[in-house]
């Protein structure tokens, strides 16, 4: 089941071609661009932002392409502070103007330091200064050892061998370079629909159909800060593209059935572009964590008279979280189960959901607020991570591996398993609160007993879901490739996590573990969940779930694990001292 991803482009074959191409910018672009005042140019930019482009195997608005590209090149949502555009800084149009400037003035940009590269070993190997974070495209392309390293990488890839972390980092760096090059030369701008698929700005047809000159006019108007001309050029560009696309839809496969729905199809496309741009701007998962954070603060302060307030924020956050999911599912066309980013926003959703459910079970108890408090704490951490570490948790919508497409059992099994992670994450939150109570000289036995019960409920949810999810994974595997269980690391670690929790529960029933032992044990069990969730994909990196493999974030995860272990050790020592 090893599917080779061979997207070696010409750069990898002939690295020095990069410079040749970069130095000759597309003919329709000349003078550098300086940006005009935000207010007047917005109408035109709005149209350009929503212009459909084919990229990464799907049709998306230029706005998304701009944001994805900035994210990939700078490993951040924004350019380095000194390079951010002045006029549109912080506005909805910041990304799109940056993208257009790259296209307009690739020459200047290729000397600016904005491509993020953090791997110290890799920098050493390439002979780049180790302390800097950002590098210019030119200096990367001219890095002394780049060609040799790339030759080694492509040989390894041909032989189907695993790349080292340094090589992976350098491979990614070259992809960054390629993307910038493709943008600066216009190759990346596949905005011309033809019967043979979407063509880029550099295709001769782009000139003939007027798409390239119109894009040139857009850049020109933007440079002259001429709002009217920008508006006009943008409208013409959008109109021309729509007309061409309509023609393609009508003639494309020569079927008359398609001809009738051509304009309808176009309307749907426009709606999709609108929807995606709206989603990009709203950033619902960011709003969700802000609301959860407010709720957490209010829960912690615990105003007696405002007891409704944190619950309101929590509910609002949950709604916007739900909305974000629905919107993202509609955009991607699949449930949020295909990569680490998606599970990192799905799990906190589950945590909040379970906190509602368990709180409802104990709604008459006055001390039930500890559940949403623990839940919001976990959810905020998880969502902040998802929102701020794009290099590791990549929010870009990418095409799915064939094996992940259109499969009912796949969706069900991953959603179930990740929901169990959510339940266990909630139990971890509550568990840590209980451990805190054990630190007190006179530990409040009654409260600890109640909280332990809450934690036990969360573990129950987790055990049911993890057992069911692991088994459903077996059913999916059986249905997809006829093998119920094959000791693949991902499924094995799901089983290990389940066995760990079962070990704790059976140890409790056997009388080996008291209340304190159960809490400590459950907190430690979450490390098994973490291994199944993160570790298999990012640390082990073997097995059939290879489509989810990635690197990065290891130090952060290890730091968390160490902190957690330290906390447990401190509490255990203290507990021993007191008893």
């Amino acid at each position: 089941m090893k599917l080779n991803r061979q997207n070696l482009s010409f750069f990898r074959a002939e690295p020095f071609l990069f410079l040749l191409i970069l130095i000759a910018p597309p003919a329709f672009l000349k003078a550098p661009l300086c940006l005009a005042s935000a207010e007047s140019l917005q109408t035109g930019l709005e149209l350009i932002a929503k212009l459909p482009i084919q990229n990464g195997g799907r049709t998306k608005p230029l706005d998304s392409f701009a944001r994805d590209s900035i994210l990939f090149l700078t490993e951040s949502r924004k350019l380095p502070e000194n390079l951010r555009p002045e006029k549109f800084r912080g506005s909805d149009y910041e990304s799109i103007t940056v993208l257009l400037d790259w296209l307009d003035d690739g020459e200047t940009w290729s000397h600016r330091e904005f491509i993020a590269f953090n791997h110290i070993e890799a920098k050493k190997q390439l002979g780049l200064p180790e302390k800097r974070k950002y590098f210019s495209p030119i200096e990367i392309a001219r890095a002394p050892q780049l060609h040799d390293v790339m030759r080694g990488i492509s040989e390894k890839q041909k032989a189907n061998l695993k790349l080292s972390s340094t090589e992976t980092a350098i491979n990614r760096l070259v992809s960054q370079l390629e993307l910038f090059q493709a943008i600066a030369t216009g190759i990346a701008f596949q905005i011309l629909p033809t019967n043979e698929g979407w063509k880029s700005l550099t295709d001769p047809q782009s000139n003939e159909t007027g798409i390239a000159p119109l894009m040139g006019a857009v850049l020109q108007a933007l440079k002259n800060q001429d709002a009217d001309k920008l508006d006009k050029a943008a409208q013409e560009l959008v109109g021309r593209q729509a007309l061409l696309y309509l023609n393609v839809l009508k003639n494309g496969d020569g079927t008359s059935a398609r001809a009738d729905s051509g304009s309808e199809h176009l309307t749907v496309l426009a709606q999709k572009m609108n929807q995606e741009v709206r989603f990009n701007r709203l950033r619902p998962f960011q709003k969700a964590w802000i609301l959860y954070f407010l709720a957490l603060m209010l829960f912690l302060i615990g105003f007696k008279k405002l007891s409704w307030a944190p619950w309101t924020f929590l509910t609002l956050g949950f709604f916007i979280h739900c909305y974000g999911f629905v919107e993202r599912c509609l955009l991607t066309g699949h449930p949020p189960v295909t990569n680490m980013y998606e599970s990192t926003i799905w799990v906190p959703w589950g945590v909040v959901l379970f906190s509602f459910m368990i709180s409802f079970l104990y709604r008459k108890n006055p001390r039930v607020n500890i559940i949403p408090t623990a839940a919001t704490a976990v959810a905020v951490i998880s969502l902040i991570l998802a929102d701020n570490v794009p290099a590791v948790l990549d929010p870009t919508i990418k095409p799915l591996e064939p094996v992940l497409r259109s499969n009912y059992w796949l969706t069900i099994h991953v959603l179930t398993i990740t929901l169990s992670y959510a339940a266990f994450a909630l139990s971890l939150g509550i568990g840590n609160v209980i451990l805190f109570l054990f630190l007190k000289k006179k530990s409040p036995t009654e409260t600890i007993q109640l909280y332990s019960q809450f934690m036990y409920r969360a573990i129950q949810f987790g055990v049911v879901l993890l057992a069911a999810g692991t088994i459903l994974g077996g059913i999916w595997a059986d249905y997809s490739w006829g093998r119920f269980w094959g000791w693949d690391p991902k499924e094995t670690w799901a089983l290990i996590a389940l066995l760990m929790y079962l070990g704790i529960l059976h140890g409790k029933w056997a009388g080996w573990l008291g209340r304190f032992g159960v809490v400590i044990g459950s907190v430690l069990c979450f490390l098994g969940v973490l291994m199944a969730w993160y570790g298999v994909n990012f640390v082990l990196g073997v097995g059939l779930h290879s489509y989810g493999f990635s690197t990065g974030g290891l130090s952060a995860v290890l730091a968390f694990v160490l902190l957690q272990l330290l906390y447990v050790a401190v509490v255990a020592l203290r507990h021993k001292q007191l008893h």
Binding site: M1, L3, R5, N7, Q54, G56, G57, R58, T59, A159, L161, K162, G197, W198, L361, P399, E401, P402, V403, R405, S406, N407, L410, Q460, A467, A468, I471, G474, I475, D478, Y479, S480, W481, G482, R483, F484, W485, W487, P489, T492, W493, L495, I496, L499, M500, L502, G503, H506, G507, W509, A510, G511, W512, M531, V536, V539, L540, G541, V542, G543
Partner: protein, 461 residues
């Protein structure tokens, strides 16, 4: 005593021990896999007796735990169901493991086959004279170790495994043979002191493929025959080419003819291990070995990268009578003369014949628009059943990712594909699983059991 053992087998303490022991071994196994690859972990952990023993211990423990609590009370419904479910699931897995078939079928477009290969090593000996199998033995990777004797019931005749390399790299070489019609072979070496480059090359006389080589910018070839005037003109060169030609004349002398841009043309007789300056930069060549009658052979060494699961295994055998060494890579066969008989030795995957055949009509790969990334793989196949009692003797079906074809208890899945010069090869995995029903039933019982257990307890609380 027996009752004490029975008590112990059904104790919660044992349960905790088994659960955590299993968790720990599995955890270690995944790290082992990360370091040594999937094949290694399958052979050294999951397929071993001790691992089966651990699972059997789990089964015994669960059985005793449940049995000792009989007669069951109503509130134990969930507990009984969940634990019975695990037993049923383990039973189903045992059925699959012992009676299931998990093979693969690789088909070119418009190729028909009913032979599926299983990923289980087999050793075979075929007697060419009597046209029959002398030996067909299934081996498990763990069984293949030095000292393993393979016999086929003839007095004093057999093969002994001398060496087993789980992940091997094959290296082609030539060895001397008694067959006088076999062509000659030479091994040459080219070195450059300045760049430190050194490479070796085997050349087989007059062979259309193995008779030529390209080393850097130079053309090298080897022929056998009379020294005729015409040979020098047979391959016209404009004199600017870098080339090196060897000729073995019938009297056994090896001659060379060298041309380089720098030094022009030169020629002469060459003996082994004598260095000659080529005139291509500072390269020198020498003949390392010259074999008058050569036959192709392979030597296997350990693959340097241990994670690469694609590297095949290899074994070295010796016959018990004259200790003739035989190297065999996984999937290879070799003919050897033993006691005057021509025997074919084959070491490779076991294969079985299906009662019906599959023909691949076409294979299609859908790509994401505007990219080279695969979106779907689809095989359109014909099922050809010779069985007259079958409802349909021939029908078509598409097999695509996540949509298999099931026919007569065999299920065909789109596993992967290869792209060759001739077109696509579709790789289907073929599977028959007698434990499937038990595994599904067990799963259902486990989940239902846990849910019932928790809801009943909660009401009680």
């Amino acid at each position: 005593m027996i009752s004490r053992i029975y008590r112990f087998c059904g104790s919660l303490q044992l349960a905790v021990f088994v659960i955590l022991g299993l968790a720990l071994s599995l955890a270690l196994a995944t790290f082992y896999e990360s370091a040594y690859g999937t094949k290694a972990v399958q052979a050294n952990v999951y397929q071993t007796a001790w691992f089966s023993g651990l699972l059997i211990l789990l089964g015994i423990n669960i059985f005793c735990v449940a049995a000792q609590r009989y007669p069951w009370k109503k509130h134990q419904t969930g507990f009984v169901l969940a634990h019975a479910g695990i037993l049923v699931l383990l039973f189903g897995s045992a059925l699959t493991r012992n009676f299931g078939i998990d093979g693969s079928l690789a088909l070119n477009e418009s190729e028909t086959s009913n032979i599926i290969t299983l990923d289980e090593p087999q050793f075979e000996i075929w007697d060419r004279a009597s046209n029959r199998w002398l030996l067909r033995r299934n081996l498990r990777q763990n069984d293949i170790k030095p000292g393993l004797l393979l016999e086929w019931g003839e007095q004093g005749l057999g093969l002994v495994v001398q060496e087993f390399i789980p992940k091997a790299v094959a290296e082609r070489l030539y060895v001397s043979t008694e067959q006088t019609h076999a062509p000659a072979a030479i091994q040459i070496e080219i070195t450059s002191r300045a760049t430190g480059i050194r490479s070796e090359q085997w050349l087989l006389a007059n062979d259309p493929d193995a008779g030529h080589a390209t080393m850097g910018l130079a053309q090298i070839s080897f022929a056998q025959g009379a020294l005729a005037k015409s040979t020098s003109k047979s391959k016209p060169h404009d004199g600017t080419d870098n080339s090196l030609h060897f000729l073995l004349t019938p009297d056994g002398t090896l001659r060379y003819k060298l041309s380089s841009r720098l030094l022009g043309q030169s020629s002469g007789v060459i003996s082994t291990n004598k260095s000659v300056t080529t005139g291509w930069r500072d390269f020198e060549f020498r003949v390392l070995k010259s074999i008058p009658h050569a036959q192709e052979s392979f030597r296997y060494t350990n693959a340097s990268n241990n994670v690469n699961d694609d590297a095949p295994s290899a074994i070295r055998l010796e016959t018990t009578i004259d200790r003739t060494p035989v190297w065999l890579g996984y999937g290879d066969s070799i003919t050897a003369r033993v006691r005057g008989r021509e025997l074919l030795f084959r070491y490779g995957p076991r294969y079985i014949a299906l009662p019906f055949a599959i023909r691949l009509k076409t294979f299609q790969m859908g790509k994401y628009p505007g990219t080279d990334r695969a979106m779907t793989y689809t095989s359109l196949v014909n099922v050809l059943d010779a069985d007259k009692t079958a409802l349909q003797t021939e029908f078509s079906k598409t097999i695509t990712m996540n949509e298999p074809l099931t026919y007569r208890n065999f299920t065909f899945y789109q596993a992967s594909f290869q792209q060759t010069e001739k077109g696509y090869v579709s790789i289907l995995s073929v599977n028959r699983d007698p434990g499937r029903i038990a595994k599904y039933l067990g799963s259902l019982l486990i989940v239902a059991g846990i849910i019932i257990m928790y809801t009943l307890r909660f009401r009680k609380n």
